[in-house]
């Protein structure tokens, strides 16, 4: 029983580290299921992180930060859509542009607004999303085993964490139980069929990238106003790309993607724990190498050495109506 209690902090950290991955991976999933490649997750999350922290500082309210961050995520995804859907531009190039644009613009605007070398002022308690204690967490905390799991692992997280956990079933339900979801998936596989059924390919895909933008907005908000206490330059630190890897690793399906995110979050939490620890046989724990495991695993999966990750068929190809 003891070991379970000692594992709880690691699982708790896993959930915290997986939250931005889950939100971004779901964003990527919706966009790519509609046929639009999204490697701009990283940039959208970074821009959102800055916006959330800036607005939280200026208004003193994290919810204002969240709303603005989702707005910025939406705006960037509309640029992506304008380039890729309306003008049939290269989706990868547009994503790269958004990433680079975000890492430049956040610092430029940050310096202009706050004159702190691109950071936002450190957020106070009121300006951040604080931990929420779920009902009964304290009274149940004494119950053996389940008590600590409920009180320390399930309770005590911030709003965006619970939003991330709620987003997964919502996305699943949307994709597999609604007409919109059916059409969205169809437009990523065979847009011509959707078009001939009289449904607009363009509008469907726009809605796909817009949902992605909103979710990246929540992910960024989490980074700067819940997990952290303010914006630091480049604070997304490759998480958008790990999320992309998780999305592929989960084969573009909500539940497997959730597990991939939790797995990658667990690796990160484990690596942080192992920092400087001497291990038998290998000596000091190779933390940097543990941190690249998500990427290695994704490459191996993509190579088809275990399982097969088959992307949506129309992914990356702009749709041209026949004339």
């Amino acid at each position: 029983m003891e070991w379970i209690l000692s594992v709880i902090p690691v699982l708790d950290a896993t959930l915290r580290l997986a939250t931005p991955l889950i939100l971004c991976a779901m964003a990527g999933l919706v966009s790519e299921r509609s046929g639009i490649i999204d490697i701009g997750l990283e940039g959208k999350m970074l821009a959102a992180a800055f916006t959330a922290a800036a607005l939280a500082t200026l208004t003193g309210n994290p919810w204002a930060g969240l709303a603005a961050a989702m707005g910025v995520g939406l705006m960037l995804s509309l640029i992506h859509g304008f380039a890729c859907i309306t003008h049939k531009g290269e989706q990868i190039i547009s994503g790269v542009a958004i990433n680079i644009l975000a890492s430049g613009l956040t610092v430029v605007v940050g310096i202009a607004l706050f004159v702190q070398g691109g950071q936002t002022p450190i957020l106070g308690r009121e300006e951040r999303f604080g931990p929420i204690t779920l009902p009964g967490a304290e009274t149940l905390g004494g119950v053996p085993l389940l008590g600590p799991i409920y009180a320390d692992l399930i309770s005590g997280h911030t709003v965006p964490v619970y939003m991330a956990l709620a987003v997964v079933p919502l996305i699943w339900w949307m994709l597999y139980r609604t007409t919109f979801g059916l059409r969205l998936r169809a437009v990523g596989e065979m847009p011509a069929a959707v078009d001939s059924a009289g449904v607009s390919v363009v509008w469907l895909r726009y809605r796909g990238v817009m949902i992605a933008g909103l979710l990246c907005g929540i992910a960024g908000t989490y980074l700067s106003t819940a997990h952290g206490a303010g914006f630091v330059r480049e604070m997304s630190a490759g998480k958008g790309f790990i999320a992309l890897a998780a999305m592929i690793f989960g084969k573009w399906r909500p539940w497997p993607v959730l597990f991939a995110c939790l797995l990658f979050g667990f690796l990160e939490a484990g690596a942080a724990r192992l920092q400087g620890v001497e291990l038998p046989l290998v000596g000091e724990a190779p933390v940097e190498l543990i941190l690249v495991l998500p990427y290695v695993a994704t490459v191996i999966l993509l190579a088809g050495f275990f399982g097969r990750a088959i992307p949506p068929r129309a992914l990356g190809t702009p749709y041209t109506k026949e004339r």
């Binding site: 430029v108 790309f241 994704t298």
Partner: protein, 358 residues
């Protein structure tokens, strides 16, 4: 829709896209309360007029030529190599390993060519894996090269903080390489010839980069292999039908691309810094995408685009000195806008323009 005349497609459209990118950048400068025209003039002077400015500009240009060529050669086969960053990183590893091993025992005339070959070989090897996986296992090269960038970064952190770290130091970098592993600076050569010259990091890697442009041009447009590569880029099926070994071509294209990206390390490590520091690639690999886009995947275009980005980088450093609220990140933003307008939105003006010109 009528096809555009050549001058419009090659001259007018890129110019319009670039202008739009700079207009939006100017708008941002104006919004944060600075004078866009003054910023532009500071950038131009910093890049070309001030003492040593041109040297720095050409030094940055060298990096961009290598990474731009790398992206472009893969693009000829319709492969998106966005792993230039990781390939350049590994190229640096190759170069620095040769130098650390041999700089005390062999003369420069041997060490330097070996180090250049090692840089190219390591870059090629790193790119060959995504190439192989694309050709034979069907995994998308874009995703695998992104992943390989991160794997390279992790690998290098553990090497630079471990076996490669300079003895007795805590910062993650190698020891300084000896003179036998250093490419001569152009200012030294210039002074040797009796001229005056300002000290800049511009070194012999610059003419090497120009040679690489010539080499790529010959390879792509003057050899059978290059023809096969372009055929593959236009239609994989047609290439297959014509008897071109498509899979082997894909791996080879990625390897040459990786080798060129790896050569960026020649400029940085053998030429300018004389040691390997953490993240020495600092985004040059990604900028290569913008360079190749702007340069329309042609060596001449790539030289011009590299010069543009070199001037942006050097001029951006000058902005840092001159303005309180503008830093180098402004350049990153401009770069993002250029990629957006000249890359993703490249075709935005085409319908409008073809109606005008018809």
């Amino acid at each position: 829709m009528n096809p555009l005349p050549r001058w419009a497609e090659l001259g007018l459209i890129p110019l319009m896209n670039l202008t739009l990118a700079f207009l939006v950048s100017g708008l941002v400068v104006w919004l944060i309360g600075e004078d866009p025209l003054r910023a532009l003039s500071v950038m131009l002077q910093g890049a070309f007029v001030f003492d040593g400015g041109l040297g720095y500009t050409l030094y940055y240009t060298t990096n961009f030529i290598f990474t731009g060529l790398a992206v472009s050669i893969a693009f000829q086969a319709m492969l998106f190599n966005i792993g230039g960053e990781g390939q350049a990183y590994l190229g640096g590893l190759g170069a620095v390993l040769v130098c650390l091993a041999l700089d005390a025992v062999l003369p420069g005339i041997v060490v330097i060519p070996l180090a250049i070959i090692a840089a190219a070989a390591f870059g090629a090897a790193w790119a060959s894996i995504p190439g192989y996986l694309q050709a034979y296992r069907g995994s998308h090269v874009v995703i695998t090269t992104i992943m390989f960038n991160f794997i390279a970064a992790g690998l290098m952190v553990s090497l630079l903080a471990g076996p490669l770290q300079r003895a007795g130091q805590s910062s993650p970098q190698t020891r300084e390489i000896g003179e036998a592993g250093q490419l001569p600076f152009l200012h030294d050569i210039w002074r040797g010839l009796g001229f005056e010259a300002t000290t800049t990091p511009l070194n012999l890697a610059f003419p090497l980069a120009l040679l690489a442009c010539l080499g790529v041009w010959l390879l792509i447009w003057r050899t059978r292999w290059g023809y096969a590569l372009r055929a593959l880029g236009h239609s994989e099926l047609a290439a297959e039908y014509a008897g071109i070994p498509v899979r082997r071509m894909i791996v080879m294209a990625m390897m040459i691309s990786g080798a060129l990206a790896g050569c960026m390390a020649v400029n940085e490590i053998l030429g300018a810094q004389h040691k390997m520091v953490l993240n020495f690639t600092s985004g040059y690999g990604f900028t290569g995408i913008a360079v190749a886009l702007m340069g329309r995947n042609h060596p001449v275009g790539i030289i011009l685009a590299s010069l543009l980005f070199g001037a942006l980088y050097q001029g951006g450093a000058e902005l840092d000195f001159e303005f309180k609220t503008i830093t180098r990140e402004m350049v990153l933003m401009i770069q993002g806008l250029i990629i957006l307008f000249s890359g993703a939105l490249a075709l935005m003006f085409v319908p409008w323009l073809s109606r005008r010109l018809a």
